[in-house]
Symmetry: C2
Subunit: 280 residues, 2 copies
């Protein structure tokens, strides 16, 4: 397959930022600063809703002219115990309520993996867990995006580690509300990327696209992501594959970085905009 050619981003109309990217900011601050900076979309992490009414946050988002792109995150379905699996299902039902409350049409699922059982067993529990919450998702009109996580997170964060595995789970669930969130950080190394992304497009299940960069060296498995352009991921090439499927959604900036969190967040937001236009 010939790789599609990337085209430059020329404005911020498809820029969405995850609140976890600017973690030091409260949700109210993030809404205000993103809007003032001309960012178009916001993905809300659930920890920022602590002590808030989701409907009120949704109102603030809309009042500032932002679009609520998605809620992060649901998932973590596997558990060694039935009680644990039920608690996860209950928690995902609350996430669906929260997403509906803020007016986000999508929940990103970090699917989970339980130490002490096989990855295959965890994958089955993921599929079962999503199936259990699908009636709630249908009632609320909320889509669920399985995000394959990098294989370095297979131990306890997700047993779904490739787009191919995400497709398998989607195939099993076979439901229009279940799709895939593609994050360059997790999938960039995969030589099957062009075919797997194209397949997601053909099956109308590419629900979200997340960007950041991979640093060399990476000092921490969770919190040392790079700003676009700081690392080795060819983001424009992957974005071109995504857009070749007809995807017109947001490019969501999701950067977990102790280094950036310790910096001035207004300056960081400015750097994100520059990096978005120059290196995404």
């Amino acid at each position: 397959m010939n790789a599609p050619a990337p085209s430059p981003l020329t404005d911020l109309s498809r820029l969405c930022i995850h609140t976890a990217t600017t973690k030091p900011w409260a949700i109210e601050t993030a809404i205000e600063r993103y809007a003032a900076a001309g960012v178009a979309g916001i993905t809300v992490w659930r920890d920022t809703l602590e002590g808030r009414r989701p409907a009120k946050i949704g109102e603030q988002i809309r009042d500032h002219g932002l679009e609520a792109v998605s809620l992060c995150r649901g998932g973590f379905f596997p558990s060694l115990t039935a009680k644990g699996r039920q608690e996860a299902i209950d928690d995902n039902r609350r996430a669906i309520e929260q997403a509906a409350g803020i007016g986000a049409p999508l929940i990103v699922l970090v699917c989970g993996a339980a130490l002490g059982q096989s990855l295959a067993d965890s994958r089955q529990q993921i599929v079962d867990g999503i199936a259990a919450v699908l009636p709630d998702a249908e009632a609320a009109g909320i889509r669920l995006a399985i995000e394959p996580l990098h294989p370095m997170y297979a131990d306890d964060r997700s047993a779904i580690n490739t787009l191919a595995q995400a497709h398998t789970a989607c195939d099993q669930l076979n439901h229009p509300l279940v799709g895939i969130a593609a994050d360059v950080y997790h999938i960039w190394w995969d030589d099957d990327l062009p075919a797997q992304i194209a397949k997601a497009g053909e099956l109308d299940r590419l629900f979200a696209f997340h960007i950041c960069d991979w640093l060399t060296p990476t000092s921490h498995l969770l919190t040392d992501r790079g700003l676009m352009g700081e690392g080795c991921i060819d983001i424009p090439a992957i974005r071109a594959m995504v857009e070749a499927t007809g995807f017109t959604g947001y490019n969501e900036v999701e950067i977990f970085s102790t280094r950036w969190w310790e910096s001035d967040q207004d300056e960081f937001l400015s750097r994100i905009k520059d990096a978005y236009l120059q290196h995404s």
Copy 2:
């Protein structure tokens, strides 16, 4: 495919230890202590040969009743420059001389990846680099094992990150001296493991098997490996797949761990033996 059943290890006759596992020890000390502990094989890391004549080290290994299992490591073929690629080829030729010197029949290749070019380009340079040193390997009768590295090392350590990619490189080179080193740390998460290991057996290219464990959490990408049993890898299950191919080689303990290196190495060696029998 039905998973083969693992059978317990009951003696140390197939236990090999990598000198990098007991990094604080000089090669002479490692030889002496491994032999005294009843370890059967030793894999020699090249840094331990600094200032030594390989033939003399080989003699010491044999005099202590140990088998020189392999030399670690060759590889790192990709480079953005022709000069860099030639230097890598020259270095791999020196590695072949060293392996022959110590009497090790195998070199493990950490194949490399060059930042600033695509993984596909790096993979082509890996194949070209191996092809360039094959005449030397033939003359010395040394086998070369491509070790697929975990995808978290795709940035600058290896563009070959799955057994499937290692097979592709082997297919391209199509030479009886070129095979695969399977390390549980790098491949445990791969849902295609049973088929890929079986294929390696069928094609007579499974040259080495390395063991250790994956810790949760992992605090460092390079130097926080676990002793067998400390982590989540089902080592007996993977060993069973390997043995189902007819593999009768060593189980090579390769643990990079700041934590263990800081501990008493005699005590660590004792723990390795226990963990080998109980958790491998």
